[in-house]
């Protein structure tokens, strides 16, 4: 019989539910961080998961058992601490990995003060240290072992379980056994309930073992596991869970959600309001700004009427950026080298080291190209290249400094793959590489190479490329350092529609954490040129639907760009009515040298006509999407 694949968070409070499963021959058990547990369930790598409820809301369409991790009152392991009243805290340091606790903390802060302080994510130890070091105004959200009894040491502290109880009169549910609909069959239920019976009876032993291993007080661990935490989710817990979902959805922190027992297992329960909600109602909610779960997004993506979807995307787009404006940037794509150590099958551009056609651009050629950019009114260069095995970090630093000294251009350079390559080559942490490049002039990191941020897909199409977590990790670090970046999605290889939604959700979660993404672009995989052009290899309607659903899911992105380079100007223009507010960049012909200015102006003129004809004002922008004035250079005469 196929093993039941179970994923669970690896904390002490979960031990009574998960530890006995390790000995069950019918179970394939994984214990890890909440994000990985959620990913496994979402991407069908786990059948059932002990899942934080924020993740359950984000995935959507799940069912649960009446077993989980909850607290009736004081929880002790999730606390807000500060040296002054929380009302006057301007910055909150927090461990962003526990999204449920972060949402709970945000709700508490919103209830107390009506607004959120600046949130800065860091490890629990650093967060505690930050409260002590800073001059004042800094609080910390501390989760897990470091939080136990921490409250006693601060003049201002809030136990979030206790505060929730005080505010709502209800218990708080942190996690529950959850699965996609239909997966909680009799066998799964029997396995999980059986394990809980064994595990709940062994709470003292787990607490003592854990205390010994971590060097904590056994008494405290025992009382934590026996008293602070409850594992059975009854009617009160269900009410607490529903209240949490409702409050979080109202504050637009989570998708509207319910997490109920399977219907067959609980015939007496009233059917939940959300089950089988009309797709059009979902679209209208999204248009009004409601956060979408993966499950709801997928339903809309698959089933919504094209015009409903487009109108909703248009409504969101109008709220997120200037409603009547479409922006574009005058920049140039410069490939500094075509030498590359990876050999992706689909790539026709790169050459191995030593190949006679391999090149690294010289300063003279750089100078010429950049002078042309400046002459044409360009404000940025996009610098990308192969993974050259001999270009050291100093080469990039020198180049960046030189560019910044000689030219006033934004530097949108080195995709995550290239950053990781430099880090490996230099045996330096990604953070150090980014810090050094940032100091040398890097402004923002292009979002290329994201493809689909689902590793099953990535392994299939580009084995040598970085994993989803590595890609996201580079962006997280870049954002923490104050760099901005764009995000992309290339679909239409071996990805499914739910993979695309998973990709969007991952971007949204990182954006929640950092706010560092400027814009999102998507396109379908482009077959190599020279083959007969088929009528939309994946369908132009699918492109429009994909861009529109991205606009709805990415509710924390300011900008979505249309991909006219891949879809053609006509579709690029139409896409402005399917959620896009940016036209990307002017196509700067690489091979046109002497008449480069002319080429650009023609293209800028054409872009402006396309945008205006779609009913928008057209505005040039810089790399951070700040609006710029019109081009001052006169149009050339006889440009044809």
């Amino acid at each position: 019989m196929k093993k039941l694949r179970v994923a669970g968070v690896g904390y002490l409070n979960a031990a009574p539910l998960t530890v006995p499963l390790a000995d069950d021959p019918e179970v394939d058990l994984f214990l890890g961080a909440p994000a990985e547990v959620a990913r496994r369930l979402s991407e069908d790598e786990a059948d059932v998961a002990l899942l934080p409820v924020a993740a359950a809301a984000t995935i959507g369409g799940l069912e649960r058992l009446d077993l989980g991790i909850a607290t009736k009152n004081r929880v002790r392991s999730v606390v807000l601490v500060a040296n002054e009243p929380l009302e006057s805290v301007h910055t909150l340091a927090l461990d962003a990995s526990s999204r449920t606790s972060v949402v709970l903390a945000k709700l508490e802060l919103l209830a107390r003060r009506g607004s959120l302080p600046k949130l800065v994510s860091m490890s629990p130890a650093d967060a505690i240290a930050a409260v002590g070091i800073a001059d004042g105004g800094v609080g910390a959200l501390v989760i897990g072992d470091p939080a136990i009894d921490l409250a006693e040491r601060y003049p201002f502290a809030v136990d979030l379980g206790e505060a929730w109880r005080a505010r709502t009169g209800l218990p708080f549910v942190f996690a529950a056994w959850a699965a996609k609909k239909g997966a909680l069959d009799a066998r799964a239920i029997e396995i999980l309930e059986g394990a809980a019976m064994v595990g709940l009876a062994a709470r003292d032993r787990y607490a003592e073992e854990y205390a010994a291993k971590q060097g904590l007080s056994a008494d405290r661990c025992r009382s934590y596991l026996n008293e602070a935490i409850t594992h059975h989710l009854g009617d009160d817990e269900r009410a607490g869970l529903d209240r949490f979902f409702d409050d979080a959805a109202a504050a637009r922190l989570l998708p509207r959600a319910r997490l109920d027992l399977p219907r067959s297992a609980a015939p007496s329960l009233p059917s939940c309001a959300d089950r089988g909600r009309d797709v059009d109602a979902l679209v209208e909610d999204a248009a009004a700004g409601a956060r979408l779960s993966a499950d709801d997004a997928l339903r809309i993506y698959r089933q919504a009427d094209l015009f409903s979807l487009a109108l909703a995307a248009d409504a969101v787009r109008k709220r997120k950026s200037a409603p009547d404006v479409v922006t574009y940037i005058v920049d140039r794509n410069v490939n500094y080298t075509n030498v590359c150590t990876t050999s992706c099958r689909f790539c026709a551009f790169y050459r191995p080291l030593g190949h006679e056609e391999g090149y690294v651009l010289s300063r003279e050629i750089f100078r010429q190209k950049l002078q042309e950019v400046v002459a044409a009114g360009g404000v940025q260069i996009l610098l990308q290249g192969g993974l050259h095995p001999e270009l050291r970090i100093e080469w990039y630093e020198d180049l960046f400094r030189w560019i910044k000294n000689e030219f006033h251009l934004g530097l949108h350079a080195l995709s995550p793959e290239e950053i990781l390559h430099v880090a490996r080559l230099e045996s330096l942490p990604v953070r150090t590489v980014l810090q050094r490049l940032h100091a040398a002039g890097l402004d923002s990191v292009p979002g290329g190479g994201a493809e689909i941020l689902v590793d099953r897909v990535r392994r299939n199409i580009a084995k040598a490329k970085c994993t989803s977590d590595e890609w996201l990790g580079v962006m997280r670090t870049a954002h923490h350092l104050g760099l901005r970046s764009s995000a992309t999605m290339m679909y239409g290889t071996v990805d499914s529609d739910s993979d695309r939604i998973a990709h969007l959700i991952k971007l949204r979660e990182l954006q929640d954490e950092t706010g560092g993404f400027t814009a999102f672009f998507c396109w379908d995989f482009q077959h190599e040129k020279g083959t007969r052009i088929a009528p939309g290899d994946h369908g132009t309607v699918l492109y429009l639907r994909t861009q529109a659903i991205a606009r709805l899911v990415l509710d924390n992105f300011d900008h979505v760009g249309s991909s006219w380079v891949t879809q053609g100007p006509a579709v690029g223009q139409i896409a402005l009515r399917f959620g896009a507010d940016d036209w990307g960049s002017v196509m700067f012909e690489e091979n046109v040298v002497s008449s480069a200015g002319t080429t650009f102006r023609m293209d800028a003129e054409r872009i402006e006509r396309q945008v205006k004809s779609a009913g928008f004002r057209v505005v040039r922008r810089d790399v951070r999407y700040r609006h710029l004035g019109p081009l001052s250079a006169p149009l050339p005469t006889g440009a044809s």
Partner: protein
Amino acid sequence: MTTFADIAAKVHAGIRLDEADGLALYEHPSLLELGALANEVREKRHGDRTFFNRNVRLEVTNVCVASCRFCSFAKLERGMPGVVVMTVDDARRALREKIAGIEPPTEVHVVNGLDPQLPFSYYEDLLRMLHDELPHAHRKCFTAVEIHWFSRHYSMPVRRVLERLADAGLQSLPGGGAEIFHPDVRKKICDDKATADEWLEVHRQAHALGLFTNATMLYGHVETYAHRVDHVLRLRALQDESIEQRRPARFQAFIPLAFHPAGNDMRELPGPTGVDDLRTLAVSRLLLDNVDHVKAYWVSSTPKVAQIGLSFGADDVDGTIVGETIYAAAGKQAPNVLAVDDLVRLIREAGRVPIERDTLYRVVREFPRAAPEGAFKVRERRQGKHLRVIALAARRDVDDPGGAPTGGVS
């Protein structure tokens, strides 16, 4: 002032739209609302059914006495570079070459320049040759401009021209040569060929003789939205007349043709944009309440835009179009030919059901509805769906500053 909501209400009540409505639709700032309304009409008429055919193009002479400024095809006189004039035997060989190795087409589409040196019998011979070569392919030949010119050049009444050609095998007329009917525009772009009335008279006579016809409109050059509305309403009036008079034939399809600027006298013009392509399809669908089909002609708009057009009022994508040379001369971006598989996929990717038709819209083959793998599933249609969409859209009207396009194409 007519509002969009007024017009939508008229459409829902089945009340015919007038000239002011047409203009208001062209100037309506929300492309999506316009598209949704046109889509509603299209789905009421055809559901998801979307038509295509297997057709072959033949152009036997590009010598032309007319001097249309938008044309990149005609070469005016014999002896000029690029002139192609085929004998009937040349045409037979060219036809055989075009269809070698492919499933026999169900339609042969022939349009030509106005070549003063060919005798009338040449065209009769040509039709007989087509019949010999492809007895089962419908012969849709000669635009109204050609028929009108035959009448002048060979000194025969239009009716006689049509009768003789029908005797030789002509079965229906393509819709070309209409351009923009309004004399102000015709004067600027095609001063020396059939006028609007002359073009319409040929179609009137054809309908009376039982020859079905199509109608086109060449847009995106020097005309205004008002000219486009006027054009479509003239077609609608003739269609009314043919229906009222119980003529044995009428217009089957309306085909907006996007002006392509390469290689002709009007190359300084930019040509229409994708949004304009969709807007034109949608307004045409809404105005032409008495013409069954509106075609998103993939050759002129590219397959990508044609696919989107199937949600903006169009229910037909034309056909495989083997051997097209006229748009090819004007710098089109579309490929030269699409296989049946390509067309079926193009239609399915739009969430529609492909139907292969013959020239008279009789079903040749039905293809099952099947969403391509990984694509969205076709939704279920419900009553009143678009009312909801319009309601959703209407709520935004107050805070929607997205300005109307600047009117017309100048």
